[in-house]
């Protein structure tokens, strides 16, 4: 009988956004929304599947910035405050919708219950979703992997082997410190690969990573099984490649699932719909209307005006989830059968990586879709959910090749992260990398104060390097924030550099930066030497 494996890979990442100097900060909400709508809902579906004895396997990459934010005490408190307010709003919505459409009223009750449950679950896992994921890792359902330090775009750092090495090793170490064990795999940011990244990964003890489909298609040797079997690089790191069909099936705007009219509409939110005085306490403190997370409408149809959207019906949405999960499972089984025959009985391995935040935050019903999908494939023996480490352990023979330079961004190469909208950042990255390496080699025996300055410079460099900033500049949303982050970290780096070289270190300034940009408190700059 035909048989193959399915590797669901969720890449959980947000840039390090933590502003302890502000009581509230709009961009910190990205984390809060992701916890409420994605990370906790994922934990809930894992709990459901486990309770019902449904076998499931998921690979989750949790990036170091996300781990650091999860563990940050001030962000934890801010998240709780945020949730308390959201629950208060939901409560007011329950009272208010009594006078409105009864369907809205029952949705308000649903939100009140859901948010309270999210907060309880959050507290149950010690206010750190990573601890929740670890519980399921320990049960063998999830493989957790890391990412390079701050999700920096590695192909643009290749001129500085020390910087690449630092990004990779810090990624491993951060994970180990937070999770208590060494990760076997690494998600390289944006799947952005160029040779010889595999050598650095091997040196850091990383056993496997992921590339996009054409990373294997255009490798130095043709991969016999295309993207449907892992390969190994000359430096002996395993590589898994993305199945183009899976993402297309899920996400295409033409045929993909999340566009179904029964699903929840992202853009209609009480943050915009309610009158200003009423909603004022629950939107941004500057008074700008924003999404609160309470939404009463469904997509209805592609060409339907926002104002004409119909009310959301949870049970209808769950019907859609059921249909789509069944459809997806069917497609995967047929794909396995087709490939199994084509490969003369060699089991294909389908790798389906996604941004985790797409499930729940963007596609509200996404986590339920995953749950239903696992329930469906539990009934078949054709498609077996698995993890990279399990696959690797089962391999006896593997093809050796060097993947081609590639990324998972638009057009498949590097232009999303280097184009007319963001190219101004690269001369500054270049300068910082050069100085960091130079200083790390020069200061072999620093004073305590010099050591702190150098460590902080390393933090500023790493924070500036997050690929998110260049990405945001390309997509054209919240560009100002992204630009100010690159500028701020570069300016802080340069100022510290100036103080270090002049020998006039301002302790107050340094202390302040250590407080503001507090990522990786254990960081040792000598990793850049």
């Amino acid at each position: 009988m035909a048989c193959g494996y399915f590797l669901l890979v969720l890449h959980a990442h947000l840039p390090y956004i933590r502003h302890p100097e502000f009581e509230e900060f709009m961009e910190e909400r990205w984390l809060f929304e992701a916890i409420t709508e994605t990370y906790i809902p994922l934990l809930k579906i894992f709990e459901n599947l486990e309770r019902d004895g449904i076998p499931f396997k998921v690979t989750i990459s949790i990036t170091p910035p996300l781990l650091e934010m999860f563990a940050s005490h001030d962000l934890q408190s801010k998240y709780e405050r945020h949730m308390v307010k959201l629950i208060e709003l939901a409560d007011r919505e329950v009272a208010r919708t009594k006078r409105e459409d009864p369907r809205k009223h029952s949705l308000a009750i649903y939100y009140l219950e859901t948010f309270s449950d999210v907060l309880n679950t959050y507290r149950k896992y010690n206010r750190n979703p990573a601890e929740g994921f670890k519980v399921f890792r320990d049960k063998g359902c999830i493989e957790l992997i890391t990412c390079n330090a701050t999700h920096g775009f590695l192909p643009f750092m290749m001129r500085f082997p020390q910087v690449v090495n630092a990004q990779i090793k810090i990624g491993v170490e951060a994970f180990q410190r937070h999770m208590g064990y060494r990760p076997k795999g690494m998600w390289i940011a944006e799947c952005a690969y160029v040779p010889p990244l595999d050598r650095y990964l091997a040196e850091a003890g990383v056993k496997f990573f992921f590339v996009d489909s054409h990373g294997l298609w255009y490798a130095d040797h043709q991969p016999r099984y295309g993207v449907y079997r892992p390969v190994i690089t000359p430096h002996e790191v395993f590589v898994f490649a993305r199945d183009p069909e899976s993402s297309e099936q899920v996400w295409s705007s033409q045929v993909g699932y999340p566009g179904d009219g029964r699903y929840r509409e992202f853009y209609r939110d009480v943050g915009f719909d309610r009158e200003y005085e009423y909603i004022r306490p629950y939107i941004d403190s500057c008074g700008e209307r924003i999404n609160t997370g309470i939404k009463y409408h469904r997509i209805t149809g592609k060409d339907v005006d926002l104002a004409d959207k119909e009310l959301y019906d949870l049970s209808e949405a769950m019907h859609a989830v059921e249909e789509h999960a069944r459809d997806f499972a069917g497609k995967k089984i047929r794909q396995i059968e087709r490939l199994y025959a084509l490969f003369n009985g060699v089991g294909p391995i389908i790798v389906a990586p996604f941004d985790a935040e797409l499930f729940g935050h963007w596609w509200y019903e996404g986590p339920q879709f995953l749950e239903r999908f696992f329930r469906h494939i539990a009934k078949t023996k054709v498609l077996i959910p698995s993890t990279p480490s399990e696959i690797i352990d089962s391999l006896e023979i593997v093809q050796v090749l060097t993947p081609a330079p590639s990324s998972w961004g638009a057009n498949g190469y590097f232009e999303v992260w280097l184009n007319g909208r963001n190219d101004w950042i690269y001369p500054h990255y270049e300068e910082m990398m050069e100085r960091m390496v130079e200083l790390a080699q020069k200061f072999t025996n620093p004073t305590e104060l010099q050591r702190r300055v150098l460590n902080q410079m390393a933090r500023e460099l790493l924070l500036a390097q997050s690929s998110d900033w260049a990405f945001i500049m390309t997509t054209g949303t919240t560009v100002e924030y992204a630009a100010s982050r690159v500028k701020t970290h570069a300016l802080r780096f340069l100022e510290l550099d100036r103080q270090l070289r002049s020998g006039k270190i301002e302790v107050g300034y340094l202390q302040q930066l250590e407080w503001l940009d507090a990522i990786f408190p254990w960081l040792d700059y000598r990793i850049f030497a």
Partner: protein, 264 residues
């Protein structure tokens, strides 16, 4: 006036006269030729800075219990107001690969080099690209040489190159009065990404138990992939934003890849 009230006023759609008087009250300087939308933007900007300041006022300035650091009492560091330097006064020419057919070059020129360029009088500044695939470049042995005239102040240039999977090096220089190219800055080497399957005919396999490698005759890919023509794939990320209704603000469009389903 409370910034939020002003925001609301703005949202309600004011006449240009009202906007002007509002700007005056807030101390926003206007030019006479300014259009309504420009005035509105300036006012919003002003409010943004106010918001930052009000927020700064109620900073908690509490340090995380675990970090054990001394509370910081100073306001935010000053660098927020400064701009990054335009030049680092260094001589550098850096290449980065963009895709199989484009290379990005950026350069910095020190004051000294700039002066020596100036001392030459009017000369053509030239950026040359050399295809140096599998050779050790000595300045004259490139497979192909390309050049463009550049202005040093451009500081960067996107170069369209003909060969994927090839090594390129760039040299910035000038054409002297004898018509000869004089190199000034040499770049690093970059390789353009490949965009077609390898023509290598063999396959290498490894037996994991004994880490034994074996070269066998290749059979190519058993399933021919469905590729996308170069530059034709906007990436699914564009597609998700078209789901639902669009409009409004998807606050954190952090969606990165999920790739382009084939690419190239």
């Amino acid at each position: 006036m409370n910034p939020n009230d002003v925001m609301e006023l703005l949202d309600s759609g004011l006449t240009i006269q009202k906007l002007r008087s509002l700007a005056k009250k807030l101390g926003v300087k206007l030019r006479r030729t300014m259009r309504k939308s420009e005035i509105e933007n300036l006012i919003r900007k002003k409010l943004e800075t106010k918001k930052v300041r009000t927020n700064m006022g109620k900073e908690t300035r509490r340090v995380e219990a675990s970090s054990g650091k001394i509370p910081v009492e100073e306001p935010k560091p000053v660098e927020a107001k400064r701009e990054l330097p335009r030049s680092y006064n260094k001589d550098k020419l850096i290449l980065l690969p963009v895709n199989p057919f484009w290379i990005h070059a950026h350069w910095d020129v020190s004051e000294r080099t700039k002066k020596s360029f100036e001392s030459l009088g009017v000369v053509r500044k030239v950026l040359r690209f050399y295809d140096v695939t599998y050779i050790i470049f000595d300045g004259s042995n490139a497979h192909r040489t390309f050049e463009v005239y550049v202005d040093l102040e451009w500081r960067n240039y996107y170069f369209n190159v003909p060969m994927p999977n090839a090594d390129y090096i760039a040299v910035l220089g000038y054409i002297n009065t004898q018509g000869i190219f004089v190199p000034v800055l040499k770049s690093n080497v970059v390789r353009t990404p490949a965009c077609s399957p390898s023509s290598a005919r063999e396959e290498v396999w490894m037996k994991l138990a004994r880490r034994e490698r074996k070269v066998v005759e290749g059979i190519g890919m058993m399933e021919q992939p469905v590729e996308r023509p170069f530059g034709s794939s906007p990436g699914l990320q564009k597609e998700y934003f078209e789901l639902g209704s669009g409009g409004g603000a998807f606050i954190w469009r952090m969606v990165r890849g999920v790739g382009s389903g084939g690419i190239l």
